[in-house]
């Protein structure tokens, strides 16, 4: 069901590996011969991008985790940016 934009299910492209790096105290995206160090909020969003959860579910989970803060647009904007960077499919 892809009736509304928030029902789309983001997935990380196979080229990328997402993981926690203790030495950086940050999540990172690793890809052929390169890497991106992610901000805390980017890490929290991408942690939930698994090809199963829809954008709506990710937003709900983050709200629950972060005291109901109004982060809907931040999440949508970040995922749009991640798509245009080629990190995820939507």
């Amino acid at each position: 069901m892809n009736d509304t934009p928030d029902q789309r299910v983001p997935a990380l492209k196979t080229m990328y590996r997402f993981q926690w790096e203790p030495a950086q105290a940050a999540h990172v995206l690793l890809y052929p011969e390169g890497m991106v160090k992610l901000s805390g909020s980017a890490g929290e969003i991408l942690k939930r991008v698994d090809g199963q959860r829809s954008i709506a579910v990710i937003i709900d989970e983050l709200k629950a985790a972060f005291g109901g803060a109004p982060l809907d647009d931040d999440v949508r904007n970040f995922l749009a940016q991640a798509q245009s960077n080629g990190w995820i499919t939507l």
Binding site: A23, E33, M35
Partner: protein, 381 residues
């Protein structure tokens, strides 16, 4: 080597494991030292396992298995497995010679993340001439196998005067092979390629044409394939930020365990590089005099010392400074502020005039054991 953010330096983020100098190819632009045949000693599997562990603990994330031809190491599968267990993103940098589809599958099972296959050219004849071996058809097969097994694939083609005019054919070949990234890597002039500089440096006109073609395909392919094209720095006015600064994020381990801030550094005089057989990676990275030597800015002379760009380009390449001025602490002559920049310009002009003349071209010196021994005295150990 692209894509490393600069705000996290201070740790060896990139570990380049040069597993062996042995190689079935003989490319005349090889970046291995000219005296490689005098350095046949290789680390054991157990040594490499320890190196992978120690560097990972220090924070290394990207791991390149390189050489020579890393496929010649029979413990490669084992090392890939350990790299995966440790959490590295592992890159196999290979000619494809010595690989078959079964091995491509085994690497995947062991946890290899990415395979970079090199081509020498887009025509069988030139590819096989430059590599000194009939490898072209096999490379095509291996590139297809890499894609069939679901790896991201980088195709790397070293670009120089002998193949630069075929750049459009080269790019079309990489499109046909469905590469994810294409590195059109201008030859950098160290080691073997420095010996062959007169035959390899493209002319300015060749570069202009090649760049226009590369830009056109970059635009055309931007949603499907990333094309990286960098002009040779001999034609630049600002030096490259070589290795992102000495001892900043890159750590190379040579086949015999010598630890280097870059794979060309062994030519620099007055430095004794530590060996992983004698010291831990932590001791080497944080405390060895060789890794401290050009770290930061204290070692610089003018015009680097007071230059606002020193935090961006780190004075350029130490090896290039040494090769062109005899002083490894000098400003890289690529920089227009270097007092030696004019000499480099004159050298480039001299070579360009050779390219246009009808005089017989200097024969290429191929990278093989015979030439290596003939060109270098035995190494004292």
């Amino acid at each position: 080597m692209a894509g490393l953010p600069s705000d996290i330096s201070g740790r060896p983020l990139w570990l380049l494991a040069e597993l062996t100098y042995r190689c079935p190819l003989q490319c005349p632009y090889c970046s291995n030292p000219v005296d490689f045949a005098r350095r046949s000693d290789e680390l054991s599997t157990a040594d490499w396992m320890r190196v992978l562990n120690e560097a990972r603990q220090l924070g290394a994330m990207q791991l390149g298995f390189s050489g020579g031809e890393p496929l010649l190491r029979h413990d490669l599968e084992e090392l890939i497995g350990e790299a995966r267990r440790l959490g590295y993103y592992s890159n196999l940098i290979t000619s494809g010679v010595g690989m078959d589809e079964e091995r491509v599958a085994r690497f995947k099972q062991a946890g290899l993340d990415h395979i970079q296959v090199s081509f020498q050219a887009s025509s069988e004849e030139l590819n096989n001439f430059l590599g000194g071996t009939a490898s072209f058809q096999h490379k095509l097969d291996m590139a297809r196998a890499v894609k069939a097994h679901g790896y991201p694939m980088v195709l790397n083609i070293v670009i120089h005067r002998q193949n630069i005019d075929q750049i459009e054919d080269i790019i079309r070949m990489t499109i046909d092979l469905k590469a994810d990234f294409v590195e059109l890597a201008s030859t950098q002039y160290y080691g073997w390629s420095k010996l062959n500089l007169d035959a390899l440096l493209p002319t300015r006109e060749q570069l202009r044409n090649a760049e226009a073609v590369a830009r056109r395909y970059q635009e055309m392919m931007k949603d499907r394939m990333k094309i990286i094209y960098v002009v040779p720095d001999y034609y630049e006015e600002r030096p490259k930020a070589c290795m992102n600064g000495w001892g900043s994020i890159f750590l190379t381990i040579a086949p015999d365990g010598t630890a280097l801030p870059c794979h060309a550094a062994q030519q620099l005089p007055g430095l004794t590089f530590p060996n992983v057989r004698d010291q831990s990676i932590e001791e080497i990275w944080s405390h060895s005099s060789a890794f401290q030597h050009f770290r930061g800015f204290e070692w610089m002379q003018e015009p680097c010392r007071s230059c606002p760009d020193k935090t961006k380009d780190f004075g350029g390449c130490r090896c290039q400074a040494y090769m062109m001025t005899g002083d490894a602490t000098a400003t890289d002559p690529v920089c227009s502020k270097s007092p030696r920049h004019g000499q480099l310009r004159a050298e480039v002009e001299r070579i360009a005039s050779l390219a246009g003349s009808s005089a017989p071209a200097q024969p290429l010196v191929f990278r093989n054991s015979r030439n290596s021994r003939a060109l270098s005295p035995p190494v004292e150990s």
